[in-house]
């Protein structure tokens, strides 16, 4: 059995949290594999975008779809007991670039990291860079994940990368989001920055790290 993205999108647009959740919950493959669930939710949100381009819905509808999707995401994490309660895993900080409100993808990535045993901090939109840097230093984060969806925000990316990679204990900087999937953002990054085009790439990266850690211990 597979999930009907069209129906899931409709549930999102109608704000039907329960129906949307049931659709996920009844599929064993989704309940067992969070990356598959995140892919499904991503596809549904992209379909929301397509319907907007076809003049079927308005941005107000997109807001409702977003909160519904967010609910399903939280409920999923809850029911799988995914949380950042470990105290010994490696640390990652996730943030949207200033002014960027497209945070759903970032939330998924943060949950995925948690599932792989990482401690995470997730910052939403509108967080000044100074505050991020402060946290990264004090908390000793080894990874910083940045999400960008809006074209005009990409100009700020370079500044973020330079500042973060210039820290004394340099964290690894990962860049993802809609723009990383559609364009080559390397001119805004350094050669150390990891550009992540999609969920699968970050999953492989996490798998890789998991293996690596075992070898070192």
């Amino acid at each position: 059995m597979t999930i009907d993205i069209k129906q899931l999108t409709d549930d999102f647009l109608e704000g039907d949290q329960d129906r949307a959740w049931e659709r996920i919950e009844e599929l064993k493959s989704l309940m067992e594999n969070s990356h598959l669930t995140y892919e499904v939710l991503t596809k549904a949100m992209q379909r929301v975008g397509k319907l907007w381009e076809e003049n079927e819905i308005s941005v107000a509808d997109e807001h409702l779809a977003t909160t519904t999707c967010d609910y399903v995401l939280s409920r999923y994490a809850y029911s799988k007991k995914i949380s950042s309660t470990t105290t010994d895993g490696p640390r990652a900080v996730f943030l949207c670039i200033e002014q960027e409100q497209h945070y759903l993808g970032l939330k998924m990535i943060s949950l995925l990291f948690q599932e792989y045993g990482w401690q995470t901090k997730l910052f939403g939109a509108n967080l000044p860079l100074e505050h991020v840097i402060d946290t990264v230093e004090k908390w000793n984060a080894s990874v910083v994940g940045i999400s960008v969806s809006i074209m005009s925000h990409v100009e700020r990316l370079n500044h973020y990368v330079t500042e973060l990679e210039g820290l004394e204990k340099t964290p690894e900087v990962l860049v993802g989001g809609r723009l990383a999937a559609q364009y080559d953002l390397s001119k805004y990054c350094s050669k150390h920055t990891l550009l992540v085009p999609d969920l699968e790439q970050i999953r492989l990266w996490l798998e890789d790290r998991k293996g690596g850690e075992h070898n070192h211990v």
């Binding site: 381009e53 967010d70 074209m151 005009s152």
Partner: protein, 256 residues
């Protein structure tokens, strides 16, 4: 003809290639000067603009993201109406920030609600675990001699009491080589409807593994409840007798 320049909103007159023929004062103030309307449209709205802003769609209302002087991405509702000559009037109405603000607060509220919802679910689960633990402590198994064991029951006589303990109790009984197991009622208060039936099936299972169940410490009300179910008792010992007497009785005459 009316003067587009005095239109109270950002408005344009365009040809069928969306080249701007004329615009209102407010359009000049809000947008950078450009010869094509499409130039004002955000890159990711352009396909939509091209699709709907054509003479084929005589009258449309669409949302588009436009580049204004103040912001590179501003959401507008764009109305277009075409004349027979292939010229259109386009009026742009900025979407109020209020929607975004409202949506923001709804989002926050929802987050809080779902957190509390989940917290409650959490508490419920914790309670259930605690309850099971209590139930487990409510029918321990005490080996008294090599042939006699005691199960003192506590709390309410109900189905769950047996459900959560049955397996462990039967396991201890089977592996111990007991002849009698004395089920003591003195700690039981209420008897729920589901209780006697569950007790009976428990006793049956105990008999099946070769151990004789013996009841003791029943209060008159308990006895009454059990009789209702015509519970068969194969014991000489008085069911109303105390646990102490029961142990003594079966230690002296183990064959009863």
């Amino acid at each position: 003809m009316f003067d587009i320049r005095k239109h109270p909103l950002p408005a344009f007159i365009v040809d069928d290639n969306l080249e701007i023929i004329e615009k209102s004062q407010l359009a000049t103030e809000s947008f950078s000067s450009s010869t094509s309307f499409l130039q004002l449209v955000d890159q990711d709205s352009r396909t939509k603009a091209k699709k709907y802003l054509t003479p084929l769609e005589k009258e449309v209302e669409i949302e588009l993201v436009l580049n204004t002087i103040h912001s590179p991405h501003s959401l507008y509702i764009v109305y277009a109406k075409w004349s027979k000559e292939g010229v259109a009037q386009i009026v742009c109405v900025k979407q109020d920030q209020r929607i975004a603000k409202l949506a923001g607060s709804i989002q926050k509220q929802r987050e809080r609600l779902s957190e509390t919802n989940f917290d409650l679910l959490d508490k419920k689960e914790e309670l259930e675990v605690a309850l099971t633990r209590i139930k487990k402590l409510s029918s321990p198994f005490l080996p008294i001699t090599s042939t006699i064991g005691v199960i003192p029951l506590f709390g309410t006589l109900e189905q769950v009491l047996f459900e959560v303990n049955e397996n462990e109790l039967l396991y201890s009984l089977r592996n111990g080589g007991y002849d009698h197991v004395i089920i003591d009622f003195s700690g039981i208060g209420e008897v729920e409807e589901s209780g006697p039936q569950a007790l009976r099936s428990f006793c049956n299972m105990v008999s099946v593994i070769g151990v004789t169940p013996v009841l003791c410490g029943l209060k008159p009300s308990h006895a009454f409840n059990l009789l209702d179910l015509d519970f068969e008792l194969n014991q000489n010992f008085d069911i109303k007798g105390s646990l102490k007497d029961a142990i003594q009785y079966y230690m002296i005459s183990p064959l009863e």
